[in-house]
């Protein structure tokens, strides 16, 4: 593998590092009483938001419909995902150094699968919070569930929820795309020689 492809592979691995600096996903909530909006930020290791207290404010609003309070401690994922990311970064760099084309492919496929599992897990949580409602909740709308959108927007009573991947996810996307490119380009070089 040519040196620039190896460098690209290392870049692909390192681009996962954005996950440590930016959230993976953002859920925006908008309501008449919240002109400034409420943002919940999902990181690989924590939950954050547009202010320090966004989780408390989410929970206050959610308790009226009987949604369970969201606490970062209840997500085991937040503890082990950082290690998975580090694993991919380290192995990606090693793959780049070794310059083995097949390893590039395995790495990309594994990363894509991990990403998909992550999104499925995310949806499972959304579903769980949105449907597991306290039957003694003050506000009960027959038949209504409150699963926030995975991607795009959805109206939930007075809130308009919008869910979008954030810069962190773009790091994963870049890692997959660049890794894929390295795989494809290295093939063409082999063919042309």
């Amino acid at each position: 593998m040519r040196i620039y492809l190896r460098i690209l592979m290392v870049v692909a691995a390192l681009s996962l590092g954005t996950l440590f600096f930016f959230p993976m996903w953002k859920i925006y909530l908008e309501a008449p009483q919240y002109p400034e909006g409420l943002e919940l930020h999902i990181w690989i290791n924590k939950l954050g938001g547009s202010s320090d207290h966004v989780l408390q404010n989410f929970n206050i609003l959610n308790h009226y419909i009987g949604m369970e309070a969201i606490h970062p401690e209840s997500f085991a994922e937040l503890k082990y995902i950082p290690y998975i990311v580090i694993f991919f970064m380290v192995t990606g760099v090693i793959v780049g150094l070794l310059g083995r084309r097949n390893l590039v492919l395995y790495w990309v496929i594994l990363l894509a699968v991990a990403g998909a599992v992550g999104i499925a897990d995310f949806y499972w949580w959304l579903y769980k919070f949105g449907t597991n409602l306290d039957p003694t909740a003050p506000i009960k709308v027959p038949g209504m569930t409150y699963i926030p959108p995975l991607l795009g927007h959805k109206a939930l009573l007075n809130f308009n929820a919008l869910s979008l991947p954030a810069w962190g996810s773009i790091g994963i996307f870049l890692a997959i795309v660049i890794g894929g490119l390295v795989y494809l380009l290295s093939r063409r070089k082999i063919n042309s020689t």
Partner: protein, 678 residues
């Protein structure tokens, strides 16, 4: 009445009197009952000039004093919309100020708890001579006090009582970098230099025993609280208003005086005998130097200094027992007297710092004094005698010139950025625009009715903004729909950007605004606190988690540490209180979101509600007098289930054996079979 007639005949130019009489006749002739039908036609573009579309913000914050309501009203300009009422010297049942345990010490004085005052003059804190938007200083006139309002929270954070003062009217005047706030006494009183404070004297001894005082208060804004550094004990006149110099006159502060006759009774006559009273000029820098260099004497005193702790929101009082003072006769060069037309009211210094305008309310002309001429007169010792060892200038040697026939009853002047002065005329009910250099009257506009102060944003500083002028009027009559005998006061917003003044808006104001200040919104708005951080709440009785609430008895006092959050109190069932107990509810608002205050009120409380901002704690004292089950509830509509935000305190007869018990919610029952019911 004859007296007043005589006064005006003596002082007002004949033409002016004739003019007002004619105007009176014309107005009578119109006879219309509605203000809008008068000839004060407002041009059609005025409405768009003051229209701030829904959801948009005003260009300026303005702070209007409330006079006899002891508060400050905050209005947006140009819309004239009321944004807030800040309680300062008065109890305010609306948010518990002066009623709850935390703020009661703010209103303590050497006379005990004084829950009211007459608030006249707001002044913004300054950096390099310009308003910096950090603090607002205000005076309490009746029981002499100076207060500081923090403009990040719009809350009163400090109140200092002024000893040796009576009627703290010419107050508080900040120097250009907040080195000092100056506060002069309106009433002179007999001072007992041995024992301290006011002494006993016969009123017949006024001339010999009565003295005035001018207080020099250090602001210590960067790292501390206000501190009364020293006072200057001045002749026993009445000190009316003050204003600081700027530029070349930066080291000086000027005070108008009246009753230099030192009359003790029927002052409307007695204080109007001398043709000239004085404008007192004090070199504050030199005074501070004299005080620092050991010229100051010390006397016993007894005055309160109340400060609000930033973290706990608890006010505490310090009683200070001595005060330093300077005697002008021992401090050469510190104080001079400029003869001014009889009983002057406002003193205003133009943006260049060269011209001092004295608004002689009974005078027929508006004298403008020159600072450079004053400097020269000091150099040449161009004096005309002295009073109590204080040199008096010759009128002509410091006079720049006079504005002839400006109108009747000039009270106050402010300036624009184009070299013009604007003066209010109380008697002829108008604002008059004149050029400071050539002293010619340029324009006049009627206001409704009888203006006192006027305010141009920055109009008292070296950089006025020449866009708006607000006239604050003493008489309202027919300006608004009638509301019985007691009416609000009226203010008019006037466009001063053009050659001609243009009336834009008429808006009602609370109680009696005297002076006002305004500042560009972007100097204040970005620093406005949205809520208090619970983590930084250092109140000793705050509880930050629902699991930490408690109800404890200590003798006949029951302390309830409780929390509020949408939409419940914890605890909301309380038992074990007995008739006659002193119950103190310490309520912490656990919210950490913008604009979610919770109120707290309990039946039969002899004070007010508590209104607790997110992250803060307030304490309300309650002594139940009869057995029963007393409801308490949230008074500020906080959420969709606000109406459910309520609880009960059981009060048992004295000596009963009901134990202390408290709870919120019941143990969770097994969920019913069906998840949702149609």
């Amino acid at each position: 009445m004859k007296v007043i007639d005589r006064k005006f005949k003596m002082t007002a130019p004949g033409i002016g009197v004739l003019f007002t009489l004619m105007a009176g006749v014309v107005l009578q002739g119109c006879g219309g009952g509605e203000g809008s039908q008068k000839s004060d036609a407002v041009d059609s573009e005025a409405s768009s000039a003051v229209y701030v579309p829904p959801g948009q913000h005003d260009e300026y914050y303005s702070f209007l004093s409330g006079g006899f309501n002891g508060q400050v009203s905050v209005y947006g300009l140009p819309s004239g919309r009321l944004l807030k009422v800040i309680p300062v010297f008065s109890q305010f049942a609306e948010n518990g100020y002066g009623y709850n345990e935390e703020t009661k010490p703010m209103l303590m004085t050497s006379h005990g708890f004084v829950p009211w005052d007459d608030l006249h003059h707001p002044k913004l804190s300054r950096t390099d001579g310009l308003a910096d938007g950090k603090f607002l200083y205000v005076n309490g006139n009746n029981t002499p006090r100076v207060a500081k309002v923090d403009l990040t929270t719009f809350e009163t954070v400090e109140i200092m009582e002024i000893p040796n003062s009576a009627g703290n009217h010419c107050s508080p005047y900040p120097t250009n970098n907040n080195e000092y706030i100056l506060a002069g006494t309106r009433f002179s009183v007999p001072l007992d230099l041995e024992k301290g404070g006011m002494g006993d004297a016969s009123l017949e001894e006024y001339k010999d025993k009565f003295r005035g005082s001018i207080s020099f208060i250090k602001t210590n804004e960067e790292d501390g609280h206000m501190e009364l550094d020293f006072q200057v004990l001045v002749p026993g006149f009445d000190y009316d208003l003050a204003n600081g110099g700027k530029g070349p006159s930066e080291d000086w502060v000027f005070f108008t005086t009246y009753n230099t006759e030192r009359a003790r009774t029927l002052k409307e006559l007695g204080a109007s005998q001398n043709d000239r009273d004085y404008l007192a000029a004090i070199n504050w820098k030199l005074a501070a130097k004299y005080a620092a260099e050991g010229k100051a004497h010390e006397m016993p005193a007894n005055y309160y200094h109340n400060t609000m702790d930033h973290g706990s929101h608890i006010a505490k009082s310090n009683v200070i027992k001595k005060v330093r003072y300077l005697l002008p006769e021992e401090c050469p060069g510190m104080m001079y007297l400029i003869p001014a037309p009889k009983s002057p009211h406002g003193i205003d210094v133009d943006p260049t710092g060269e011209y001092m305008v004295v608004n002689g309310k009974l005078a027929s002309s508006l004298p403008v004094f020159s600072f450079s001429k004053m400097q020269k007169a000091i150099e040449n010792k161009d004096f005309d005698g002295e009073v109590n060892g204080i040199p008096v200038f010759k009128y002509e040697s410091v006079l720049y010139g006079e504005v002839k026939e400006p109108g009747l009853g000039p009270l106050h002047t402010e300036f624009d950025n184009k070299g013009n002065g604007y003066s209010t005329m109380f008697v002829s009910s108008e604002v008059v625009k004149w050029n400071v250099k050539d002293l010619q009257v340029l324009d006049r506009i009627p206001v409704y009715y009888s203006p006192g102060h006027l305010m141009i944003p920055g109009g008292d500083t070296k950089e006025p903004n020449g866009k708006y002028l607000v006239a604050m009027n003493k008489i309202t009559k027919d300006r608004y729909l009638p509301t019985g005998p007691e009416l609000v006061h009226s203010a008019q917003l006037i466009d001063i950007s053009g050659e001609k003044m243009r009336l834009l808006l008429d808006f009602p104001t609370l109680a009696e605004p005297h002076y006002a200040q305004a500042i560009a919104a972007d100097k204040v708005a970005p620093n406005s606190v949205k809520f208090f951080k619970l983590g930084e709440n250092t109140h000793p009785d705050a509880v930050k988690k629902e699991s930490d609430v408690s109800v404890t008895r200590n003798g006949r006092t029951v302390k309830i540490k409780m929390t509020s959050i949408r939409s419940h109190f914890t605890p909301d069932n309380i038992e074990g209180v007995q008739v006659g107990d002193t119950v103190i509810f310490h309520v912490t608002n656990l919210e950490q979101d913008w604009d979610v205050p919770h109120g707290f009120a309990v039946m039969g409380a002899n004070n007010s509600e508590a209104l607790i901002m997110p992250g803060a704690t307030q304490s309300l004292r309650w002594v139940p007098k009869q057995a029963g089950v007393y409801p308490f509830y949230c008074t500020d509509f906080c959420s969709a289930l606000h109406q459910e935000m309520q609880g009960y305190v059981r009060v048992s007869p004295r000596g009963s054996n009901v134990p202390i018990k408290f709870s919120t919610g019941e143990k969770r029952p097994v969920p019913p079979a069906q998840a949702s019911v149609n």
